[in-house]
Amino acid sequence: MILSMPDLLSAAPEMLVLVMACVVLMFEAYAVRGQADTAAAVARPRVAGYVLTLATLLAAAGLTAFTASGVTATAFSGMFVDDALADLLKLMTYFAGIAAAIYSRQYLADRALMRGEYFALLLFAVLGMMVMISASHLLTLYLGLELLSLALYAMVALRRDDAVAVEAAMKYFVLGALASGLLLYGMSMLYGLTGTLELGKMAAILAGGVDEPVVLAFGLVFVVAGLGFKLGAAPFHMWVPDIYHGAPTAVTLFIGSAPKLAAFAFVIRLLADGLQPAHGDWQQMLAVMAVLSLAVGNLAAIMQTNIKRMLAYSTIAHMGFLLLGVMTGEVNGYSAALFYVVTYVIMSLGAFGLILHLARAGFEADALDDYKGLNRRAPWLAALMAILMLSMAGLPPFVGFYAKLTVLQALVGAGWIWLAVVAVLFSLVGAYYYLRVVKRLYFDTPHSLEPVTATPGDARMLLSVNGLAVLALGLLPQPLLSLCLQAMRLTYG
C-alpha cells in the first residue's frame, strides 16, 4: 500500500491550533516553575496563555482566509474537506473564540481562573470544532465532537470548589456521554446498511435505494436524537438551562457561542452531505423537534428569574429556528440556517459578554433584578443590552429580524406555511421576556445608584463593536446574507 502525501496545506489551521495549544500547556508548565507557592502566586493571573491564545486564533484566521479559495478540496483519504462553508464557519469560530477570551479576561482574573489550562482547553475545544466543521467522514465527525465535548466538560468544572459548577459539569458529562452513545449506535446502523463511513459515498449508496428501509429509519432515529442532544433542541434540552446556569459565566459565554457553529456544521454535514437521499425521513423528525423547541424555549423562559437561565431557554428556541431552516432540505433553507446561526452567535456573544462585563469579584450579575435601572447607572451599557435583547426578540431594524425573516422565507418557499405561522406565534410569545429585560433596564428603579466599576477598555470597546454590529448588520444585512448563500451554493450548488 502506497500512501500519497496528504494535502497538508488545507489542514494548516488545524495543525497551527494543535501545536499552539501544546505550546500554551508547556508555557504554563514551565512559567510557574520557580515561583514561590504563596497564596498570592497561586491567585495571580497569568497572562501568557491569554496572549498566546489570541495570537493563535488571529494567525489561524489569517491562514484560513489566505487558503480560502471557494474550491472544495479533500485531504487525508477523504476524511477532511475544505470548502467554502468550512472556511466561513471556521472564520466565525475564531472570532467567537477571540471575543470569548477578551470578554472573560477580567472575570477569570477575579476568580483565580486566569491560567494556562483554561486557554489550552479553549484552544482544544476550538480544534474540535474545526475538525467537526471540516469533517466528511463519520469517524472524524464523531472524534471532533468528542474533542470539543471533553474540553467543554473540563472547562465547566474548572471552578472545582463551586458545588453548582461541579454539578453542572457532572450533568453535562453524563448526558453528553448518553448522547454520544445514541449517535454512535445510529452511526453503526448506517454503516451496517451502507458499508461505508464516508459521507459522500453514503449519500451515493442511499440515493441508489436500499433494501432495508427499516434499518435506515432505525439508524436515523438514533442519529437525529443524538444531534438533538448536542444542539440542545427539545425534547433533548434538559441539560441546557442547568449547564448555562451552573457554569462560570465565562464558560457559559463560550459554550453559548462558538459550539453552536460547530453543531450546525455537524447537522449539515451529516444530514445534507451524508443523508440527503433520506431527506423525507429526517425532515419530519426535525419538524417535531423544531416545534417542541420553540414551544419549550419560549414558554419556559418567561418564568426565569436568572438571566443566564433565561438565555439558555432562549437558546433552545433559537435552535428550533435553526432546525426549521435545515429541515427544508434545500440550499435556500441551509443558507438561511447558516445566516441564523452566525447572527445568533454574534448576539449571544454580546449578551453574555455584557453579563461578564457587569460581574465583579464576588458578584455574578446573573439575576434579572441586577439589571433594574441600569440606564441610570451606565446608559451606554443599557443601550447595548437593549439592542441585543430587541435583536434576539426579532424586532427590526436589528439583525435578529432578518435572521428570522430569511428562515421564514425559506420555509414558505418550501411550502411549510403552517410551520412558519407556528414559528411566528412562538416568536411573539418570546418577545415578551426579551422586552421584560428592556423594561427593567429603563423603567425600574435600581437597587443602588453606584456607577458600574471600570472594567478593561478592550472588553468595553469590543462590546460596543459587538452591539453596533447587531445594529449595522440589521440595517445592511445584504453582504452577510449573500456571503452565506454563496458559501452554501459553492458547497451544495
Binding site: M1, L3, P6, L18, C22, L25, V32, D37, T38, A39, A41, V42, A75, F76, S77, M79, F80, E117, A120, L121, F124, L127, V131, H137, L139, T140, L143, G144, E146, L147, L150, A151, Y153, A154, A157, L158, R160, G192, L193, D211, E212, V214, V215, A217, F218
Partner: protein
C-alpha cells in the same frame, strides 16, 4: 445451523447476561467481575470475526489492566449499598416505563422480519488481521488516529487541571531540585589544620 453460528449465539447470550448482571448486581465487585466476563465473550465474538488482534488487545488491555485497576478502586471505596439502592428504586418506575416503551417500539419496528444486515464474507487463509490494521491505521486512518491521540491528551490535561491543587504554604520537595543537587550544595569542606589529639578532644568538648 453451522458450528460457528452456534458459538456466536452462545457467546452473544453470555455477553447479554453478563451485561445485564453489570447493571443489576447489588455488589459493585460482582458487577465489575460480570464486566470482565462480558469483555471475555466480546473478545470471543471478535475472534469469530477473524479480528484476532482486537480480541487479544481487549483481553490484555481491558481485562488485564483496566478492570484490575477498577476492581481495586471498587474494593477500596466504602460504598453504602442501602443508600444507593434507595435512590435506584425511586427512579425505577419512570425508568421502567421509558424502557418498556422503547422495547415495545423497537419490537413494533423490527419484529417479524430479520434485520437484514448480512455478515461479511470470510477472509482467505493467509489473511493477517493485525498486519491489515497496522497498515490502515498509519496510512488511510492517520488523521482519526492523530485526533484520538489529541482526545487522550485533552483527557490528561483535564484530569490534571481538575485534581492538581497548588495549595499555598504546603511543605513539599521538588524532585527535580532534589535530583539536581550537587556535592557543593550539601557538603562543606573545611580545611582544618592538623592538630594534636588532645587539642581535638578539647574542641569536641
Amino acid at each position: 445451523m453451522e458450528f460457528s453460528a452456534v458459538i456466536f449465539y452462545l457467546f452473544a447470550a453470555i455477553l447479554l447476561l453478563a451485561g445485564l448482571r453489570v447493571i443489576t448486581a447489588k455488589n459493585p465487585v460482582h458487577a465489575a467481575l460480570a464486566l470482565v466476563l462480558a469483555f471475555f465473550t466480546a473478545a470471543g465474538l471478535w475472534i469469530l470475526l477473524e479480528a484476532e488482534f482486537l480480541a487479544i488487545t481487549l483481553v490484555l488491555v481491558y481485562v488485564g489492566a483496566v478492570m484490575v485497576l477498577f476492581l481495586f478502586v471498587v474494593m477500596m471505596l466504602d460504598i453504602n449499598l442501602e443508600q444507593l439502592r434507595q435512590q435506584f428504586w425511586d427512579y425505577l418506575p419512570i425508568a421502567a416505563l421509558v424502557a418498556g416503551l422503547l422495547i415495545v417500539q423497537m419490537i413494533l419496528v423490527l419484529g417479524g422480519e430479520t434485520f437484514g444486515l448480512n455478515p461479511p464474507a470470510p477472509k482467505p487463509a493467509g489473511y493477517s488481521n493485525t498486519k491489515e490494521l497496522g497498515l490502515l491505521l498509519y496510512t488511510e486512518y492517520v488523521y482519526p488516529f492523530e485526533l484520538a491521540a489529541v482526545i487522550l491528551l485533552v483527557a490528561i490535561v483535564a484530569a490534571i487541571a481538575l485534581t492538581l491543587r497548588r495549595r499555598a504554604g504546603v511543605k513539599w520537595v521538588d524532585p527535580a531540585v532534589q535530583v539536581k543537587v550537587k556535592r557543593e550544595g550539601r557538603v562543606r569542606l573545611v580545611n582544618l589544620k592538623p592538630q594534636k589529639p588532645q587539642a581535638q578532644s578539647e574542641e569536641d568538648a
